[in-house]
Symmetry: C2
Subunit: 366 residues, 2 copies
DNA sequence: AAACATTGTGAGTCCGGTCTCAAGCTTAGA
DNA sequence: TCTAAGCTTGAGACCGGACTCACAATGTTT
């Protein structure tokens, strides 16, 4: 160590150039690997850069190339392993193409989401992946498009926004799963979601979040196929925190026509539902059948292990990154986004309706 | 909408200045709120900025102020709810002080961590919070210090690096918890961690990760207090993925002197341990007692609910952000970091040793 | 040997802001 | 009335790179 005052002002091309006894332009060329540079100069510059431990200022570089080799990701709840896994898929794919990834968590708050998008645009990311909060507001997303930078939506579509969307169609798997439950004798099947809504659910209501809308549509189709009517009174939205889910669960299981099966729309809701069922002293699946979205690790630990609907989240993340990067590298070219399908993994939390005569067994699906 | 070609080049101060019929300098002053500007000019400039929908280029601003009002966070595994919650604490505290937060996930890989730190330094964040991977390498962290930007370590201390550390001392809670187990008759208490290590654990070994070292030290103290010797043969490191944890668990529970209690050092390990115990057909706590670090939501769902050691993770995140921001705003001033303590929450997975005569009950701790 | 192509080089501009400097104008105290 | 201080203002340097341009020094072709 020659001198310990390695602080404040950092080394610039000009410094390197001076040390290598060449002009700033030549040093920049040697360092940046463009233009024509003689072997002699290149060596001297690189040696000087090395000995001064020169690091290019990415900000300055971004400023006049317009490219930052960085993609921004905005998610609602990074505590949710669903997004954690997606994030891994995004990071891995991006890294493979030489892109850095920066993430901002919004806590499912539309204002925070707007801020996050603004911050990332201000930092001049090359593109954005957003898992949007369900909200009618979309001004911030339109601003992304207006800025000319590509945007890929994750999980949820936003009406009136013509951008790539990476999501799994939930209609079919929901229909099949519901059919499974109906086949086991269930007619009172409840659905609980954290989706915020001004009004309680009613049949035919316009649900703003595509994945939730699809789940409900699938359920509705299955009931229709079976010749039953869809019990829309058992659909509960606005399930905010875990406590409120417990309350909703208990409410659903009481009364003259209680639910005999409950479907949780995500891992957070699932925790509350199972807790609610347990505190009422009921057992799964003898008293209540249970099904949830997202194949989380802990679902295998309960007794019985829980039946889940699994999505290829990692692959979806990777696909989102791939689509975005293609848009960045070849603007205007429409990117091919693979189709993703979710599957029902029946582990044992779906049983026959209590008191039903027949013995329920899994139907063999082709 | 006047014209739809709102793309490519964005509006700059020069454009605003031209529209307001003043010089660039005056426009910049009015916009930036510095220097002296007459009321007349200010109004004209702000109006022009509004009508052109001017947005300052943060990159350019950062470039010559040196401040980005952004803090960078580097964590190993964002899928771990431990870090997810910490992230919320950090974000909330930072937002309250007007700082943006960007996160990079490293997947517990030292090379990715080095890259992440480089990227964030290159983006000129004002400071960094890093939850470092356990590794002897610390060059990248030293580089942060050399750059003059403040660094706060989360969870783990790094030897020879004189920076603020936000962590919970695990020694005492580990000692107490182990004493609890010993009091219940356990002597064969195993400990499983994902910590990477070249060699198997031996008593007195220098463990590179502070939190793990503290947990082991606490166990050792408890055994010493009780007049027993610490069964270091039951300490297993390098528990990589869930599968390997299952294998390790089964290994520990077989043989002539099996473990009667297992302590999992984090949520990931815990999943594997519980699965391993279940696949062997053993029950908690009748056959094996179980204790884990981190109070995750799903630990209340198993039967029995699992006993955990809980840390105030959200508060720790907030404290880390607070300390960092203070360092950024008042360089040189040492920041006060509160003490954090972890607590044992005994839910029911700790029981008496199988075959022991006495009936175990929780000791009343003062 | 003249005409042309290729390579190496430095000077200087640009990106979009911040900030210094000196000049112009107003106003107050001597 | 004159000067000193105070406010407003524009010109331009600067941050640290990327890149254009003009020109010199070689090499190649006929």
């Amino acid at each position: 160590m020659t001198h310990s005052s390695a602080r404040r002002r950092d080394v610039t091309v000009a410094d390197v150039a001076k040390a290598a006894l060449v002009s700033k332009a030549q040093a920049a060329r040697a360092l940046g690997g463009y233009g024509a540079v003689s072997e002699d100069v290149r060596e001297r510059v690189l040696a000087a850069a090395e000995s001064l431990s020169y690091r290019p200022n990415e900000l300055a570089r971004t400023m006049n190339t317009g490219k930052s080799h960085t993609i921004g990701v905005v998610v609602g709840d990074i505590e949710n392993p669903h997004f954690g896994l997606a994030m891994r898929g995004i990071s891995d794919r991006a890294k493979a193409s030489g892109f850095d990834v920066i993430l901002i968590n919004t806590g499912e708050d539309i204002r925070a989401e707007t801020d996050a998008v603004r911050v990332l645009l201000d930092k001049r990311v090359d593109g954005l992946i957003v898992a949007p909060v369900s909200s009618p507001e979309k001004g911030h997303l339109e601003r992304v498009c207006a800025s000319g930078r590509p945007l890929v939506l994750f999980d949820r579509k936003v009406d009136g926004l013509d951008v790539d969307v990476v999501a799994t169609d939930m209609t079919e798997v929901s229909r099949k799963s519901t059919a499974e439950l109906i086949h086991a004798g269930h007619e009172r099947i409840a659905f609980i979601s954290t989706l915020k809504s001004q009004e309680p659910f009613w049949n035919g209501m316009d649900v703003s979040s595509t994945p939730i809308a699809e789940r409900l549509k699938g359920m509705s189709l299955a009931f229709h196929d079976a010749g039953h009517s869809f019990p829309s009174d058992l659909v509960r939205l606005n399930a905010g925190n875990s406590d409120s889910v417990v309350g909703i669960t208990q409410d659903l299981l009481r009364g003259p026509a209680p639910a005999t099966a409950i479907v949780a729309s995500d891992g957070l809701v699932a925790l509350g539902v199972v807790e609610g069922i347990q505190t009422m002293g009921l057992s799964i699946p003898q008293d209540v059948s249970f099904l949830m979205y997202d194949d989380l690790a802990w679902t295998r630990l309960t007794n019985p292990p829980l039946s889940v609907i699994s999505q290829p989240v990692y692959d979806m993340g990777a696909a989102a990154a791939a689509a975005l990067i293609q848009r960045i590298q070849r603007p205007g070219v429409k990117s091919e986004i693979p189709e993703f399908t979710a599957t029902l993994i029946n582990r044992g939390s779906i049983g026959a309706v209590r008191g039903a005569a027949s013995c329920y067994s899994l139907s063999e699906s082709p």
